[in-house]
Amino acid sequence: MEKVGTIRRNLWVAALLLLITASLFLFFNMGNNWAFALRLRGVKVAAILIVSCCVAYSSVAFQTITNNRILTPSIMGFESVYLLLQTIIVYIYGDTTFKVLGSINNFMLSVASMIGFAFLIYLLIYRKGKNNLYLLLLVGIILGTLFNSLSSFMQLLIDPNDYFIVQGKMFASFNRINRDLLWPSTIVMSLILIAGFRMTRTLDVLALGREQAINLGVNYNRMIQLFLVIIAIMVSVSTALVGPITFLGLLVTNLTYELFKTHRHSVIITACCLVTAVTLLGGQFVMERLFNLSIPVSAIINLAGGVYFIYLLLRVKKL
């Protein structure tokens, strides 16, 4: 545990970094029509901030309740549900997809099916009072594998031209965010984030482990379920908004724990939001301006997060 001063200083540094990357992203090489550029980039920055907060909060909370640092909520199969839904839509409507189903309807449908999926697993597990969290994850993953096979089967049948619509959905992208979606999702997410931040103290207690938490008067099962619901909503909204970034949560939470050596969730989650936003903005800036968008930024993040994951597993003496 480091001194409060160091942590506060690190937080300020992270906030400053965020400011720098954000302004770099907004104002770098604006060209003549700066009003247009600002509007376009402003939407992206706003979306990145929302997604960052969602990913940061859900990943940290998830790691705390599962009591480890190498899992992310996206492994529960949310992304497979999303991808299967998108594949089915393109499979049915082909190139008329965009005409039939506007991005708002698609967003609503995606969120609804992911949250529905999460509740289905929760019901399956908690119906008989089973509280094995790992079992929950395994069931999620198995269903996810099943959905993945189904989507890759349907993807075989899709016309190669239409397939590019699906392929576009396979990678998170901040370039196709609908501005109409931004406001409602910002409001929803802010409400949930506020609720979530009010519960960070509960997370501190839950981090002590099941027995201690119960001893300290926390209704353990109830709280775990509550956090699972919050996590499901956050992951669903951020996935539906920009697409899947599987290993982002893994990368940023571990970076945050390296940089901020504290266990207070209010600090860690705030810091993690900042770190995530800096990572995404920086990554997006580099990919967009330096590599001309030739590789999706989420693919790079997945790669970096994945390599970091293996490094973590091999470096740590015992997990």
Binding site: S152, I295, P296, G306, I310
Partner: protein
């Protein structure tokens, strides 16, 4: 020597029984039979396997009956030797190979949930295959096999290194990590595929599918036969090295050598199957678990059951896939996924 074998078999069986903390354990007492009628059981399974194999020979778009074979209808005989027999043979070998690989991996990690699907093995084989297809597509089958094998072998080594660090955690934790590990390998493969603009094609190549199996195009899968034979000879040793390095040293086993032999067998089998037929998920996970529920955990005794049941399961899934939307086919990757996922979920959730 004999006493030693007896001693460790006893220790292993006993410890194994206690170390199965998975949800599966609660089934065991209800289903484990006393070791009687082993030969009979083997005989019954063999008969079922032969029956499904025969059925598999006669299912298909072209209508072939016994009479055609006896009556020496040349066209139909040609169809049988060129397409039907290779397909059935490949199905049997893939079923045996994948489920036996599952058993080895489960023994070596002492974890019921580890299998090619949950350890990144399939993803690694896919990656090797994709790299071959992109960079040296003209180099020939031997190179293709070698590349897929090398990738699979390295991924298995890495996975075992990881497992050794987390083995004392919750049983379900290991496959979770393995699945994430597979996800990472998969994301690298996807990245390459995106750069080459072949995401859809690579998906098609990797989908487990036996419809393209023809004489002259599937023989690579016979490479899994020696691996399976070695597995049978080394069965107990794999269980011992699953107990840890020191434990196996104490019993006079060379830990590294045995481990490498096991990984070699798994990698050879998995890469041969992926190259011939594509990825077949869940098989190595479900068949060994169901067999262990029904017949117990004495590997030397149950390994033949695992092999036979794997073949039966795969043959049945293939028949289902061929019949459901007749005259078209559902690739086996899909039918195995659906049936396998359902069985696995029932196994996980339907406990007392």
């Amino acid at each position: 020597m004999f006493e030693v074998t007896l001693a460790y078999t006893f220790v292993v069986d006993k410890t194994l029984y206690h170390s199965l903390q998975g949800p599966v354990i609660s089934f065991l007492p209800a289903f484990t039979f006393i070791n009687k009628g082993g030969p009979l059981r083997f005989f019954v399974l063999t008969v079922i396997m032969l029956l499904t194999a025969t059925l598999s020979l006669f299912v298909g778009v072209a209508d072939i009956s016994m009479a055609d074979i006896i009556g020496r209808d040349m066209d139909k005989l040609a169809l049988i030797t060129i397409s039907r027999i290779p397909r059935t043979a490949a199905l049997i070998l893939a079923g045996v190979g994948m489920s036996v690989s599952g058993v080895i991996m489960q023994q070596m990690t002492q974890n019921k949930f580890v299998a090619p699907t949950t350890a990144g093995t399939l993803e690694a084989a896919k990656m090797g295959l994709l790299i071959f297809l992109i960079f040296i597509p003209t180099a020939g089958t031997a190179v293709k096999m070698l590349l897929a094998f090398l990738f699979t072998f390295m991924a298995s080594l890495l996975f075992l290194a990881i497992v050794r660090k987390i083995r004392f955690r919750n049983v379900v934790f290991v496959p979770l990590v393995g699945l994430m590990f597979g996800g990472i390998i998969g994301s690298v493969t996807t990245l390459i595929a995106v750069r080459m603009n072949i995401v859809q094609d690579s998906n098609a190549w990797m989908m487990g599918d036996f419809s393209g199996i023809l004489q002259g195009r599937y023989e690579l899968i016979y490479l899994s036969l020696p691996a399976i034979a070695v597995t049978y000879l080394y069965a107990n040793k794999f269980t011992v090295i699953g107990m840890g390095e020191e434990f196996s040293r104490n019993l006079g086993l060379n830990y590294r050598t045995i481990m490498n032999i096991g990984l070699f067998c798994v990698s050879l089998t998995v890469s041969a199957v992926v190259i011939t037929a594509g990825a077949i998920p869940f098989l190595g996970l479900i068949v060994p678990n169901v067999v262990s529920l029904l017949f117990g955990d004495n590997l030397k005794r149950t390994l033949p059951y695992v092999a036979l049941s794997g073949a039966i399961f795969l043959l049945l899934c293939d028949i289902v896939g061929r019949v459901v939307i007749y005259p078209y086919e559902i690739p086996i990757g899909v039918s195995v996924s659906i049936i396998g996922a359902v069985i696995f979920l029932v196994m996980l959730l339907w406990k007392k």
